[in-house]
Symmetry: C2
Subunit: 340 residues, 2 copies
DNA sequence: TTGAATTGTGCAATCGATTGTCTTATTATT
DNA sequence: AATAATAAGACAATCGATTGCACAATTCAA
């Protein structure tokens, strides 16, 4: 068992009989230090196994080179790939990433904010919790000018830069696709209407309906938390009604999955009796049978873009430009809507 | 735009006309401070919107209440659920979590180690990169007595506490299950043999074969990195041979997926012509058709257990007990091995 | 009443790296 | 040769919270 072997710049300084400040500057390639000294310092640092103590440095410079991420749940593929995108770019630019999960709860989200603030992150990327209705906790950052970028689940109330996918267009192309397949009674299972993404998907859907002069039946638009369980409830409601729809555009793939499973159980044929389109292109969607037609959104791209935006703000401090970036989506046609 | 509004204990001290040390002690509920003063301090702290600066505290106490996690890739469900388990418990115990992805590369893994060390994490939980063959970088932690716990992907070379699932038993029950279904020529696609998990799965498989007096044909045991692509190669090799197997136990679900897709493409019937069993119970496995029989392992439980172990070491510092905890697995029977 | 014990706070050093300012040595300029 | 300019490095303060020790005020025992 070796001893605490924590080498500091002062140990290097002592070994070379120079001052700590010189060591610090040498390690940071400061112009005021001669090449000779720099080399000596760096060699000695390596020899002693010196590893900088980020805590000390951060305290002094009050900049941690760390960005915080708040997401609902890491185990959802969209979010984990967003994180991959965030981490990739952040690391490349020399930033660390701290991840917190809100589990879609407001209280947890508030905890995450405190945690990240206590860690003095340089900026934050967040996607809000489904069940949050109050966003005051984010003021911890905005009040102190800590850059904040939202992605995917954004709310108008929070005035920051945002990165979203084109949910409106996603809803539109999903609906238009179903219309092109000859469907007439098209239902939509929408998500919580305080979140823009679900509002936009619904609006896109409605736009397509109007464009093609299809009367929208109110009974065919239902709101849902879009979970596996609630998806079953929706499936039941829609498919067991007196006048069931001939197509369903589900607010996400999870709900579409519930519908497919329910239909299979009841012997309802997809896509012949009811066509189904989801949203997200979750990894499982491709392997369902029938495979699921869905709107693809790249978590990786969203994460990367959000990070790009955040680092710009951190580094330039160019005031509050408050951009909203919209990334493209595209339809992946599969069997559930009739593709052979 | 508000000003930098960073309240420190000294601001509280000034406001109450007491010293900083008293404020610090009051906030930490030190016994030497009177209740009256404590209350005054806490009220003032709230009033001024004080938020402790973890950096300063960490620097002084050289303990960050943070644990580091190194995993191959967050987007694999097993790992993301492990993280969920880690985070859950860590948060409950007052620890933060920093996550780094190695992308299965040795170099990246080494970077992660540096990053976490620079952040002075109190302990580390790791699952090694597939492509790592040298593990010296972990000495950064072990040399300095920073607690380290491995999970799932562990190597004997590293002498630390470990949490794994019962891969041996997993291999055994998978094989025995296939045998019970009447399969005679059973193939196994194994993973890299420098990782215990794959060694153990293979050994469990072999044990079952021996137990049931089935001769193991060497051609039927192949090693693979277990990716989607390589799975196809394996499927081709096995299914197009002159004497194809009547069952395949794949080292993971991804490879099993490749086999199912390949078989579907070639019109080979599963499970009639060839039965398939996977490992992990990925989210998609249930929805494949045929649905995939697989060995379930709970990432969440593994993560939780690893955290429990790590926090024990951090808090008790009870030397190097070097436990290895083995969590149970169980077989989930589905269509790919004959379940109706 | 006096010395001892107890209680409540303040002082100042500390963690390790950074940085503004000062000092000394060296080189350039006229 | 004398002065200015530059280069290389040292000193010491600083970031914010913690903590060993000192000290004053109060209480208690004898």
């Amino acid at each position: 068992m070796k001893n605490e072997n924590n080498v500091t710049i002062h140990d290097i300084a002592k070994a070379l009989n120079i001052s700590g400040s010189t060591v610090s500057r040498a390690l940071n390639d400061n112009a005021r230090i001669s090449e000779k000294t720099k080399k000596a310092v760096k060699d000695m640092a390596k020899q002693l196994g010196y590893q900088p103590n980020a805590l000390a440095s951060n305290l002094r410079t009050s900049c941690t080179n760390t960005i915080g991420v708040i997401i609902p749940r890491i185990s959802r593929y969209f979010f984990s790939s967003a994180i991959t995108g965030i981490e990739e770019l952040a690391r490349e630019k020399g930033y660390n990433v701290i991840i917190c999960q809100s589990n879609d709860l407001e209280e947890r989200e508030s905890d995450c904010v405190q945690t990240l603030f206590a860690s003095r992150v340089d900026g934050v990327i967040s996607s809000v919790a489904l069940k949050a209705e109050n966003y005051d906790h984010y003021k911890t950052f905005t009040n102190r000018n800590i850059p904040l970028v939202f992605f995917d689940r954004v709310v108008d109330e929070l005035e920051t830069s945002k990165v979203v996918v084109d949910d409106f267009k996603g809803g539109f192309i999903a609906a238009e696709h179903l219309i092109s397949k000859g469907c007439k009674r098209i239902a939509h299972i929408s998500g919580p209407q305080h979140l823009n993404i679900y509002i936009n998907r619904l609006q896109g859907f409605l736009k397509a309906m109007r464009k093609h002069h299809i009367v929208v039946n109110e009974e065919l638009i239902i709101e849902s938390p879009l979970t596996r369980e609630d998806g079953l409830r929706c499936a039941k409601t829609l498919l067991e009604s007196d006048n069931p729809p001939d197509a369903i555009f589900a607010g996400n793939d999870t709900t579409a999955l519930s519908i497919i499973l329910y239909a299979k159980e009841k012997g309802i044929k997809i896509p012949e009796e009811v066509a189904v389109v989801g949203f997200s292109n979750e990894p499982f969607s491709e392997y369902l049978s029938p495979s699921l037609t869905t709107v693809e959104q790249s978590g990786f791209d969203v994460g990367t873009k959000a990070t790009e935006l955040l680092l710009d703000i951190i580094q330039n401090k160019t005031g509050n430009k408050q951009e909203t970036i919209v990334l493209p989506v595209n339809l992946i046609e599969r069997e559930s809507s009739g593709k052979k």
